[in-house]
């Protein structure tokens, strides 16, 4: 295809998009949200350690199984776009959670060495990417549902045995994220809403691996 043909095709797309008839009521608005939430992880992911040298051996990056479920608490925020007051397009956002509650140390194997993982030190950051959703309003109440993607990074402290000594371990786990955001809101004033939000994690290291739930404040139409 020649350069002139490419230009012609592109111009025709732009023209068709801008010149066709469209809904006169269509408009959009940006919305800001912050949340305080609890999180439940059905099964903690397998964590990968950084390479470490002990008095007994040199260990490359290895994977260790933490195994248990986790309870977490944290906060987050995001920006989303609403279209026609019905569609919502979550744009970008993030959450930060840390483990809460009492946990047993997880004794596990790191390439044959005995490692001790500390689930109570788990922290998790979610980086949320665009998604798509729908919302419904009735007087001062609103319900919304959206699916969005992202990725999640978790870190945990641990140690590995080398005879009678222990050497600290830094462990991390990353994953692609897909979550379903469900919320019920009540308008406080023309531009502020308070919401209860439940977010099942459709994919978080594995299918249906927990959820987050919490209070959310939204600013926007």
């Amino acid at each position: 295809m020649t350069r002139s043909r490419v230009v012609t095709v592109a111009a025709s797309f732009v023209a068709s998009a801008s010149l066709c008839a469209s809904d006169a009521r269509a408009d959009f608005d940006f919305q800001l949200g912050t949340s305080v939430s609890g999180a439940w992880v059905r099964r903690a992911p397998d964590f990968t350690s950084k390479a470490v040298t002990t008095s007994a051996r040199e260990l490359g990056a290895k994977t260790a199984r933490a195994g248990s479920s986790l309870a977490m608490i944290g906060f987050g925020g995001d920006v989303e776009l609403t279209i026609d007051d019905r569609w919502k397009v979550p744009l970008f956002g993030g959450n930060f959670h840390w483990a809460v509650g009492e946990y047993d140390a997880a004794i596990t194997s790191l390439d044959g060495s005995i490692a001790r993982l500390r689930p109570w030190t788990v922290i998790r950051g979610d980086f949320l990417l665009p998604g798509i959703g729908r919302r419904w309003k009735h007087r001062r109440n609103m319900w919304a549902a959206a699916v969005r993607s992202g990725f999640s990074v978790a870190g945990m402290a641990g140690s590995v045995a080398a005879g009678a000594e222990t050497v600290p371990l830094e462990l991390t786990a990353q994953t692609f994220l897909l979550q379903l955001e469900l919320e019920g809101c009540r308008r406080l004033d023309p531009s502020t809403r308070v919401c209860l939000q439940v977010v099942p994690r459709l994919y978080d290291h594995q299918l249906l691996n927990g959820l987050t739930f919490g209070l959310r404040m939204e600013w926007g139409q």
């Binding site: 051996r57 608490i73 809460v100 047993d104 060495s113 005995i114 689930p119 406080l188 919490g214």
Partner: protein
């Protein structure tokens, strides 16, 4: 309800939630993920056991007769470490009564389904191990080796195989070790198996004194199995008798030269005191802890230890293994860490936790 009040309520709920749960903390407990928990099967490996001597007392005999031991040691050997080469190379015991007793014990063990190997320990008649220089001098002599070769078949007649336990050799003994193994292989194999105990080197050249005395590549054509002696990890400072990760590295290094290897696991413990190290059995360790009223703690590998003051205020630390620490190490050696054709050699029958084989047997697939 005003906006202000609702906002305040929301903030209160959030703060209460945070105050309620706070941060994560250590419960003080432990949860085994190794081997996927106490109720999960351990990797299925061939296992053998070393008896340091020609005699089994009634306790150890009963242990070998137990269902747990039979389950754990199925497919492996009972190694009686009791053959001794004398100064002229003649292998003992030569007394008819001693040989008859050994043959009787061997037959008895075979009736329980075990294969029995006789181990050649290079000790003098008093039971003291020859020093490395002395053993090297023996091995260097073709006449001594010839005598050993001539006299070995008679004493190993009842056995299914022979194990060579050469220790503390200087590095320059390498050609003589290889020569000895090659010459013995000619009279032992193929009717019986010939195995050799090998130092647990983790580097090339060996990081161990005398580690270069063993050329695994040169020995490989002459032996059926190499037992990697992953024991006595802590020699200078108090610590566990084995580090499971170190043992993995030693076995991997050996498998680079020869695939049929065993990883060793100690059944005994070690008491570290100001007068040196002393091997101890499980019952000693428990009795010392009780007498000293000292708590039994667990080290980073899971091996139990006791810190106590002995007579005269001597400070001791006693490290040993029990069913829990042994199961933890065996679980850590999963199939992806050590291939399942790597066997396990339990060293020092009679020194173990009495519950060991029952507990391990219950987790064998």
């Amino acid at each position: 309800m005003t906006t202000k009040r609702l906002s305040r309520h929301a903030a209160c709920v959030a703060l209460a939630l945070g105050a309620l749960v706070g941060c994560g903390s250590d419960s003080g407990g432990q949860r085994e993920e190794v081997g996927l928990g106490a109720d999960t099967a351990l990797p299925s490996r061939t296992a053998s056991v070393v008896v340091d001597g020609c005699v089994l007392d009634t306790w150890t005999r009963a242990t070998l007769a137990s269902a747990g031991a039979k389950r754990v040691l199925r497919g492996g050997e009972v190694i009686l470490l009791c053959l001794v080469p004398r100064e002229d190379g003649t292998v003992g015991p030569r007394d008819p009564s001693a040989r008859a007793a050994l043959a009787g014990l061997t037959e008895d063990l075979k009736r329980d389904g075990y294969r029995v190997h006789f181990g050649v320990a290079f000790t003098d008649e008093s039971g003291q191990r020859y020093d490395g220089a002395q053993t090297r001098a023996f091995l260097q002599s073709p006449a001594w080796r010839q005598r050993l070769k001539e006299t070995l078949p008679l004493v190993v007649e009842p056995a299914d195989g022979v194990e060579l336990d050469l220790q503390s050799l200087p590095n320059d003994a390498r050609p003589f070790v290889t020569a000895l193994v090659a010459e013995l292989a000619a009279v032992v194999r193929p009717a019986r198996r010939l195995n050799v105990f090998v130092p647990p080197s983790v580097t090339e050249p060996s990081d161990l004194p005398g580690g270069e005395a063993f050329s695994r590549k040169e020995l490989a054509p002459h032996v059926d199995r190499m037992r990697i002696m992953t024991l006595d990890y802590s020699e200078q400072a108090p610590g566990p008798t084995i580090d499971p990760g170190w043992a993995v590295d030693a076995v991997r290094r050996a498998r680079g030269d020869f695939l049929n290897v065993d990883v060793s696991y100690p059944l005994y413990g070690t008491d570290f005191g100001p007068r040196g190290r002393r091997p101890v059995v499980y019952h000693d360790a428990i009795a010392i802890a009780a007498l000293a009223r000292a708590p039994i703690e667990r080290g980073p590998t899971g091996a139990p230890f006791v810190s106590y003051s002995a007579f005269g205020g001597e400070v001791h630390q006693l490290w040993f293994d029990d069913a829990e620490s042994t199961a933890r190490a065996l679980g850590a050696w999963s199939g992806d860490v050590l291939p399942l054709d790597v066997g396990v050699l339990f060293y020092g029958l009679g020194a173990e936790d009495p519950a060991l084989f029952e507990r391990l047997g219950a987790r064998m697939p």
